[in-house]
Amino acid sequence: MAELGRAALLVTLGLSAYALAGGGFAAWKGRRRLAQSARNALIASFFSTLVAAVVLVVGFLRDDFSLAYVAGHSSKALPTQYKLSAFWGGQEGSLLLWLLVLTGYAALAVWLARKRARDLVVWVTPVLAGIALGFTWLLVAVSSPFDVIPAPADGAGLNPSLQNPYMVVHPVALYLGYVGLAVPFAFAMGALLSRRIDERWIVTTRRWTIVAWTALGIGQLLGAHWAYQEVGWGGYYAWDPVENAALMPWLAATAFLHSVMIQEKRGMLRVWNVTLVSLAFCLSLFGTFLTRSGVVTSIHSFTKSSIGPWFLGFIVVAVVFAVGMIWLRLPQLRTTAKLESLVSREAAFLYNNLLLVALCLTILWGTAWPMVSEAVRGETMVVGRPYFDFFLRVFGLPLLLLMGIGPLVAWRRASLKGLLKTFAWPAGVALATGVILIAFGAGSSIPGLVAYSFSAFVLATIVHEFARGTAARRALTGEPVPTAFAQLIGRNRRRYGGYVVHAAIVLLAIGIVGSSAYDSVTEGRLAKGQSLAVGGYKVTYRSLGEREGPNATEVRAVLGVRRGGKDLGTVEAGKNAYSVEQQVSNEVGIRTDYLTGEDLFVIAEQVNDDGTVFFRVFTKPLVNLIWLAGLVFLLGSVITLWPDAREERRLATRYATARERSDSPATT
């Protein structure tokens, strides 16, 4: 089986090399059949990679421990779903997953675009092939999942912290996101290579970008939820380099999503857009490098492996290529359209972009600082939470406010009178909210109070927009409210889907602020019958029990929860001891109040021999809004992604008129 896997990857290597060389030559010299051949090679490379992936999956399912990778990440006792997810539990397997998603996306992209923009797509093939070649090379020559060893009796098992449902979805979602950014990048490079300055590449990749961005966002939320529930250190985001590795490309992609709207509406920012998408893609490569090479101290980091230098080289090539292409085409990309006013929607989008990129770059700096300082000063400096928290506030709060302002400011230029009229009511709501919150004690955190007020502002503008739009529609058509509402969204999917996404971000902000600025924590060692008081709750340690799970011994302390004299039931917290893997994992107890979104979070830090337990208890107000935000985010994305027949027709007419069709023998 291993030979089949290795052979399949070699086939992928050959195919992607051919697609790169042949595709590049075909694009350069304008050879139709060669271009089709290269495209076929790229599509075929997905199938050969799929074969390799299936071989590995079968190896896991069959407990084939002659495969070193399977032996290192699985065991006989491992439940089946975790045997499957063990596929991406280690470096080689996750590289294979990356390649599988990449070739899958690449095949789909060039297949869907085969009849359109031939001169553009013909360059997309070699760019995607080049990326695929890089990863295939790593898999074939440097880090192969098909290394063979004398089969041991049983495998080493999967790290217990990976044995949970999140392991099945979180990495896949992230990879769908990371890798997805390669498609708009390739199209952007294709546009530059084919000397096209029109927005064809943007129009073609708009949905790709949104899908990748959504997947990356959801993947991060899943990761945060995992950290919160399973890892159980009491939080959901630690500014760990690997967490930042996913956040940075997401921020760049968010900026990109907004700035392409300006190119669409005003024809401006062409150079900026190409730069942004390149930045997003290079950051996703960098993110993969950070996670896989262990160069930065992190709880997620791996052994300093040999792929580090290769990855770095890969990123350098991508950066040099992108910068080079942008530089070459700079004269053609410049436009005459100018920013007319500092108070306009274009300007608001510009500020949004500046803030997002500033945040992204400060996170990049903080994350890369250990590497940089080691290289430059010989001393590895590590940056802590306060740095990241500071810049999140400095850039994040204005961004939050802008979310409410941007969609309502007029294009080109907005008059001051118009602004006052538009924002008087939401500003009033925000002010009132602030005052009420101070009365409730929110003044204990000024950034928190500001964030809440801004959130109220944004939510007010969103509600107002929906209300006003529905009313305007009703005035026009006389439809009943639900119909008008649905029609409003249906006819303006991008706008109102965008509003829903903004609402999700606001919910996210409120959840984050509540659980970090207004949380409480208490800790102490308790004997049975003793209690701790935290944030209005009284938690009493009642009993300690032990039971045998499928592959671990589970120790649980049972605690009673009371608030304001009312009995709220019990919560369990403890530890699991895994026999095969010889490891202990923390199992936290969380009691969710669905009315307020608050969590009572209990960690049994240390179970002592005398039956006493050292507990750490948190209250996390509003934290569940974060998870709710994820659902709203998904909904908003789906709305914006939904196909719009009218828009499709308009675009089809435009591109047909410009005779952007196949190279039929009937022409010339």
Binding site: L4, A7, A8, V11, G14, L15, G30, R31, R32, R33, L34, A35, Q36, S37, N40, A41, I43, A44, S48, V51, R114, K115, R118, D119, S194, R196, I197, D198, R200, E264, K265, R266, G267, A410, W411, R412, S415, K417, G418, K421, T422, R468, G469, A472, L476, T653, R654, Y655, A656, T657, A658, R659, E660, R661, S662, D663, S664, P665, A666, T668
Partner: protein
């Protein structure tokens, strides 16, 4: 062996375009010539201008933009749209084919045969 079958399949996939058309009339990839490019850009300009006008009207109707602001901007937007349409007419007159359906349908048939 499966590996051999994989290699064969890969080679076939790659060779397919050459096998299907051993001696085509033209192997040239259609690239947009400068005229077509200008036409495309003009179309985008027109779409942008018309969309901006439409959005202004919709915003005005919905009450997002006051009468004053509307009046201040609508003139220049209308001028931009007229300009874009004029440019497009001028370029469109140079182009051989515009919207005549039979020719476009013929092109699609040819496309289908090639692929």
């Amino acid at each position: 062996m499966l590996a051999a079958a994989l290699v064969v399949a890969a080679v076939v996939a790659v060779a397919l375009p050459f096998l299907r058309e051993p001696a085509p009339a033209s192997d040239a990839l259609h690239e947009l010539d400068p005229a077509e490019r200008r036409l495309l850009e003009a179309e985008e300009e027109r779409d942008r201008a018309l969309a901006a006008l439409q959005e202004l009207e919709a915003d005005h109707r919905a009450g997002r933009i006051s009468d004053e602001d509307y009046r201040a901007v609508v003139g220049s937007l209308r001028r931009d749209a007229a300009e874009a349409l004029r440019t497009l007419d001028r370029l469109g007159a140079d182009a051989a084919t515009v919207r005549t359906s039979p020719l476009r349908a013929g092109t699609s048939d040819a496309e289908a045969k090639i692929d």
